[in-house]
Subunit: 345 residues, 4 copies
Amino acid sequence: MRAAVIGGTGYGAIELVRLIKKHPFLEVGSVVSNSQAGFSFNDIYPHLSNVVVQPLETFNTERLSEENDIVFFATPSGVSSKLVPKILEKEKKCVDLSGDFRLKKSEEYESWYKHSPVDEKYLNQATYGLSEINTIEIKNASFIANPGCYPTAATLGLIPILKSNLAVIDSIIIDAKSGVSGAGRGLSLTSHYAEINENLKAYKLGAHQHIPEIEQVLSDESGTPITITFTTHLVPMTRGIMCTMYVNLKEKISTKKVFDLYKQFYQESYFIRVRPEGNIPSTKEVLGSNFCDIGLHVDERTNRLTIISVIDNLVKGAAGQAIQNVNIMNGWDERTGLTDIPMYP
Amino acid sequence: MRAAVIGGTGYGAIELVRLIKKHPFLEVGSVVSNSQAGFSFNDIYPHLSNVVVQPLETFNTERLSEENDIVFFATPSGVSSKLVPKILEKEKKCVDLSGDFRLKKSEEYESWYKHSPVDEKYLNQATYGLSEINTIEIKNASFIANPGCYPTAATLGLIPILKSNLAVIDSIIIDAKSGVSGAGRGLSLTSHYAEINENLKAYKLGAHQHIPEIEQVLSDESGTPITITFTTHLVPMTRGIMCTMYVNLKEKISTKKVFDLYKQFYQESYFIRVRPEGNIPSTKEVLGSNFCDIGLHVDERTNRLTIISVIDNLVKGAAGQAIQNVNIMNGWDERTGLTDIPMYP
Amino acid sequence: MRAAVIGGTGYGAIELVRLIKKHPFLEVGSVVSNSQAGFSFNDIYPHLSNVVVQPLETFNTERLSEENDIVFFATPSGVSSKLVPKILEKEKKCVDLSGDFRLKKSEEYESWYKHSPVDEKYLNQATYGLSEINTIEIKNASFIANPGCYPTAATLGLIPILKSNLAVIDSIIIDAKSGVSGAGRGLSLTSHYAEINENLKAYKLGAHQHIPEIEQVLSDESGTPITITFTTHLVPMTRGIMCTMYVNLKEKISTKKVFDLYKQFYQESYFIRVRPEGNIPSTKEVLGSNFCDIGLHVDERTNRLTIISVIDNLVKGAAGQAIQNVNIMNGWDERTGLTDIPMYP
Amino acid sequence: MRAAVIGGTGYGAIELVRLIKKHPFLEVGSVVSNSQAGFSFNDIYPHLSNVVVQPLETFNTERLSEENDIVFFATPSGVSSKLVPKILEKEKKCVDLSGDFRLKKSEEYESWYKHSPVDEKYLNQATYGLSEINTIEIKNASFIANPGCYPTAATLGLIPILKSNLAVIDSIIIDAKSGVSGAGRGLSLTSHYAEINENLKAYKLGAHQHIPEIEQVLSDESGTPITITFTTHLVPMTRGIMCTMYVNLKEKISTKKVFDLYKQFYQESYFIRVRPEGNIPSTKEVLGSNFCDIGLHVDERTNRLTIISVIDNLVKGAAGQAIQNVNIMNGWDERTGLTDIPMYP
């Protein structure tokens, strides 16, 4: 299958290219970048010299749908809402890595993203693609709204305890930390080397656009409306997300029991590695891979559960999960093309 | 006044040397390192070439108390408990930067530090030295137990809201992040460059020895026993601590009101900079300085207060606060020798 | 084929494991670590949880040669000289990633490495494995002395100009820079995070053990004895080597002509990417891959050629080239299992 | 004396502010930033909250010269050439940290900087201010062209051997490495965090505008025209420059003898620390200070001298040397306000 990538010069797009190249059933098709069309890919990304040689194209609905079997959108907010419908009309499969089709309520999209929402007709066609949780829906989908990076790490860590009915529902706090690649390739002072190196910075307190997405998933999965506190930090490293999450427990329960519960919950999920008691994952332990590793600790003094969930924001938090979803959609083993060991050190 | 530094080759000690050199009323006296005695300081720290030239000495009570007016201990846990009493017997002023004299209850020290506690007779002579809070006691003290790095950042951020009676007392969560210099100069895999660079790591969940220290301060200041949840993370940078802290509020209150409360509380405190609404400090904004900067945000959706407090762990979190305490003890302006602007970028 | 890895907990060894797992014709066999025998691999390297699960073994000649088809040694200097002969006696294929079998003159080994040299009988069985240069010898070899990281980057960059007879032979200067993973996983102050982060450090001036190796290769290839000046620097990053090399030219020649010469020289070499004029590679552009990228610039004012050569020290500079050599030894396409795109950013 | 800073939001300017605040005889006067005029300094640089509180101003010749005793220009190339003359007409002292007045030959400025050169009348008033070398001229100057960062590190390292008549004059190679702050605060992909972190990059081969400046100084000091090869690299750290320099020697001479020669040459220069044999400086050993540390090594195999010179690019390479020059101009001890120990770690 030929896979097109729209938004070709961003970090999400080149990570898609990297993963598509490894995949036995996919090949890199059209790569679209309106701003850089006509240039060769390796002019902009010399690391791709001799490997990906086709020129960057403009977005052309006809050509795209003729020459490709599936289209990945790795575009900024507000772009895929306009472009995806054109591809859907051609009855091609799509995966959108942006936030445009994730929120079921248009007014929430408008209020958090400050863009006009997409037409309901197309919004309804989108299947939210948290691979381990929405597996059945994904199998039958032809258009995936791929989850955000923070929501992936946060919800995979929280869902088992929420479903267990052990959590105090209004106590959830997510203290999230991300490497700088999450801010993309667009220039800004907050991604300027001398500003962020040797620095730790909190940002968008109470205003991050991933808040409604996390709440939507947690509310759906737990069957009850959930409001969270969510704080994001920028860490001086390129890749990696860690969510440190705090949940009050309704009753006394040991770390070991919580571990068993998570282990059981994710027994079929190759990419979720629940760590045994005393073993807390760090971001580098998933670098470059599609794993989401989860550590657990019950503080008996406060009866509060701390959950630590780590992913590579560009893999499980973006391009890797997109490939995993394509695997599921096509009935392939979900691990196809995604079995690389994390790169360490 | 001549100031001796014990523990001469650790990071706390060389930071003390750096700050003593800037101080108009202090000069570097004896520098003690049992392991490196006889070597010149600049053999071990070439950055001090031509600047600090005396040889490192062994610990000799007589000579130390004869040749110095004040003695700083920047030694590992379990060392100053043995050495400080010898200096106290000589009626010399001391500042201990280790944790040996901070906890008022010996059994807590033993249980968290895994060392034998110090004799009560000496423990009672120690004044806990959180400069902005214990100012009066410090003025009259001759022996200071200098606060830990995390406790400094955490308690300075929490005390105003606790004293206001607006906080739900059992809801306090401290998500703390530190640069690697906090782990000291001793070799270990967790300070090995290739392991920690491009990595974010949580450690000692529910077991960090600063937990009882924070609880002791908060309980004393609020007049009620307080139990916290405290998580520590290692961030790939050399210096800096950030505490992101979560407190449920008893009633609705705006960020602006909380800001006013903090601003009022710290109106006399030069080194505490309370940031106005929407302005959240990052660690680099205090680098190399004795400032503690505090940002505030009330999430109206959950009525939870987020407090972000940053310090340089080696300055306000160690050597700088030690100098500030010496200033207060001696009746000097607390800012003496500490007015450097943060180094940026 | 089952591949054993000796020296199992070092960075060279885990990189071998990562690459063997990707290889279609190889599988991870015994992993030997005398110091950690009995532990499971993922106790020491949690990033390998659920992926590599066999326990670490002690070195047992019988079992190793029975259960494996090829043995990789990723051991410190002075170790494989003792162990490789045991495996050779069993007529198993070996690749040694250490320096023990690289230098043809025993006295040079002794003088630069400060270890006793290996018995000539075994030394003579070793084929030096610079894949692109020694391809024919490697095809017929059963025991490879895998090149050092610096020698790989340096000699691949210098050989074409030396063979062209355009270079002033006694003018070669190699200014080399390496990430910290090159120093291995052993603890030392020079790999201690707070010492090397935000620091640039030159080391072992005129004394690096890779000097005789580089001179041996260059002398062999050019047919004339060559003495170089070689300086190494430690750069605050985990992976990557850059050699900036200076060569006086015997006659005026343009950058374009030198480019043509290199392009021609490496026309069959997939892993060598010669960059066109004005395009200078950086280390990140080969991260995680087996590429060696080369940039060229003739300074017409001084008639001096500057060559910039970059590799990932753990891949093309160690484990990747070892796999490439195994591919060549076995008559497989040299790219087998090594086609991953560099990870960027 | 009141000191104005023009170019107020760049890194050179805030470093000037940091150093002026430490200086006993200087105070921060006007701070000019045309782009940010009207804003308070600490809106843009929160690390200056409560410390530097005056608003940023526009450039107004009258007001500037009335309210200030000395004017520092920390502006991009092509700006001070237009503004400095206005201040000189008012007979105020100036220090220009940009390259506009450094090159004595206008045509060289034009060819390397791609800007129109300044009027000769004003160019002739500029005294090149390499503090240790041009001390006498600086004493009598009222307008200083402050040296570039690379030229400072390079020429301080090379002048003693050139003056000794031991160097082969056409053999000089300077392999220079810089932290990213040298590229300033302007946004560009080469200062974008995810591009430069974990990366080492060579740039501007044979085309760096500091080449003619270095050649001018070396030619002047040695009394013979000198052409160099100069390569610059970007290192993933914020501050610091290292120049690794190679010079062929006319006769056999030991490292010890070269050390003696340098030690003698710089015996009066507090800020130049010549390191003894076997002791090579790293950039962190001068961080935040005005020191230039120099290490030396003669390779007896090639009779080539390697000189390693390190500075903090923003201090000795910019703002610190500017203050040192002001000290000399005013007849103060050159160390005034500059005695801080490097910050370590």
